[in-house]
Symmetry: C2
Subunit: 281 residues, 2 copies
């Protein structure tokens, strides 16, 4: 397992792999790896001859007052995990390597980024799409893997990839959960014990929502009202949003039909968690 | 010579050429080809095994009230010229092929697009960078060729390519001029005879500016004042801008030093023409 910090060196490794006829897989992460990331790595390893896991806490996707400085960074233990999982390359560039002096270019995906996390984090997705485009151009993967936990992010990246004719297949993999249902997230480490317990309300609510919809509920506002009522009962939880949207345009639905994303963002103290389900209705 | 309209077919041709070890060169144009375009094509042919000249009048780089509808389209005579010049492929996609329903993604290069043509054409460069990124991702060229006549465009594309780590070498080729000095442009066809004659003021002024700077003039505002005075003497000309800027950030200079772009945009009736020189000072 090799940790690469320079863009030019990664390009050389990719070129070498390509000359051997290998497919290239990329798992973009911000590090502080958990089972969710490792499931992406496993899938990438199964489908590609060379797998690159990138670790880069991307400053331009954090807003003012967000947790860029505090975001957990554990490159050493991340490297141990990647090595144990049989990963080949960690690409961990510096901020200066990614955004040298004079940097000026940003990618926006309109409409799909206006609601949900985009509403409370106005420049977040522009930062995400920009860094992912850069990583795609540097690693030139055949396949890239993202977790469904960040559903809006994954859908926005799929849209960008299609719109800009990038030659990358973007895979969205199922959310990996703790035994009690909490979606794995690097930000779970911020939670106090009480908040950790309270955070179960997310997966529990989504499970009940899935049952309701499978049981025939098609009124999006009834589902939203149910979510708000349910989460309001948890005193440590403050709702940021509860959305029922389509997966193409990420637009609020009135009547639930087709591929539907039910997504939540909820604050527990200073920690903002997200979770979601996608249903074929 | 082959005219290709589908993205997937162009990709197949490029893949075939790559498998034969050929370099790929791209000349992006909006058609209505003139000697300037053909000089780019010649250069591309000399440096690449497969040369693609794209013809696409890109709607998203035209503003409301600009000349998108009137922009000259002559695919047949363009094809004759490309064939005669020994070109191999014209890529001429439809608007629907490039921007299918649901399209949402745009690329912005900040700062460098704020002044000059960006000031009077607010969404122009976002349209240019977006379509060029798409063409780069579709044709995956090793080399791409742009004319210096559109100097700001070329510098903005170089910046995007570098910022987004695109694996394309962007070449800026010298402006090709008519015998009397007028920079070749598809928009020259809009000019009346009197306007055509008046338009010589652009290249004449720039020539005198070059002489002044070579003669030691370093005061950018003196150069600007000279340009404004000179062009104001031409009754058919209305100045849009006269700029003296650096070529990295395209920022106005006070004192001329380093690589310097002197760029003009001037209206003759309804026709807006641009011209420029770049000097090493």
């Amino acid at each position: 397992m090799e940790i690469i910090r320079e863009i030019s060196l990664l390009r050389a490794r990719v070129k070498e792999a390509r000359s051997q006829g290998k497919l290239v897989g990329l798992v973009p992460t911000m590090g502080c790896l958990h089972q969710g990331h490792l499931a992406l790595l496993d899938k990438a390893k199964a489908e590609n001859g060379l797998t690159i896991l990138s670790i880069f806490v991307n400053p331009i996707q954090f807003g003012v007052g967000e947790d860029y400085e505090e975001y957990p960074r554990h490159l050493e233990s991340d490297a141990t995990q990647v090595e144990k999982a049989g990963g080949q390359i960690i690409f961990a560039p510096t901020v200066k390597e990614m955004y040298p002096q004079g940097y000026a270019t940003y990618i926006d995906v309109e409409r799909l980024t206006a609601g949900l996390c985009g509403a409370s984090r106005p420049h977040h997705f522009r930062g995400v799409t920009t860094v992912v485009a850069k990583l795609f151009n540097i690693a030139t993967p055949d396949n890239a893997y993202f977790g469904q936990k960040d559903a809006q992010q994954a859908l926005v990246i799929q849209r960008m990839t299609k719109d800009l004719n990038m030659n990358v297949l973007v895979h969205i993999m199922p959310t990996v959960r703790e035994a009690d249902g909490l979606a794995m997230s690097s930000r779970n480490s911020y939670l106090s014990l009480a908040e950790r317990k309270a955070a179960l309300i997310l997966s529990q609510t989504l499970k009940q929502v899935a049952e309701k919809i499978r049981g025939g509920e098609r009124d999006a506002s009834a589902i939203q009202a149910f979510i708000v009522e349910k989460i309001s009962l948890e005193p440590l939880a403050t709702i940021d949003y509860a959305a029922v949207v389509d997966t193409e345009e990420i637009r609020p639905l009135k009547e639930i039909s087709g591929r539907t994303l039910i997504a939540l963002a909820v604050r527990f103290g200073k920690t903002r968690l997200i979770d979601n389900i996608i249903l074929e209705v």
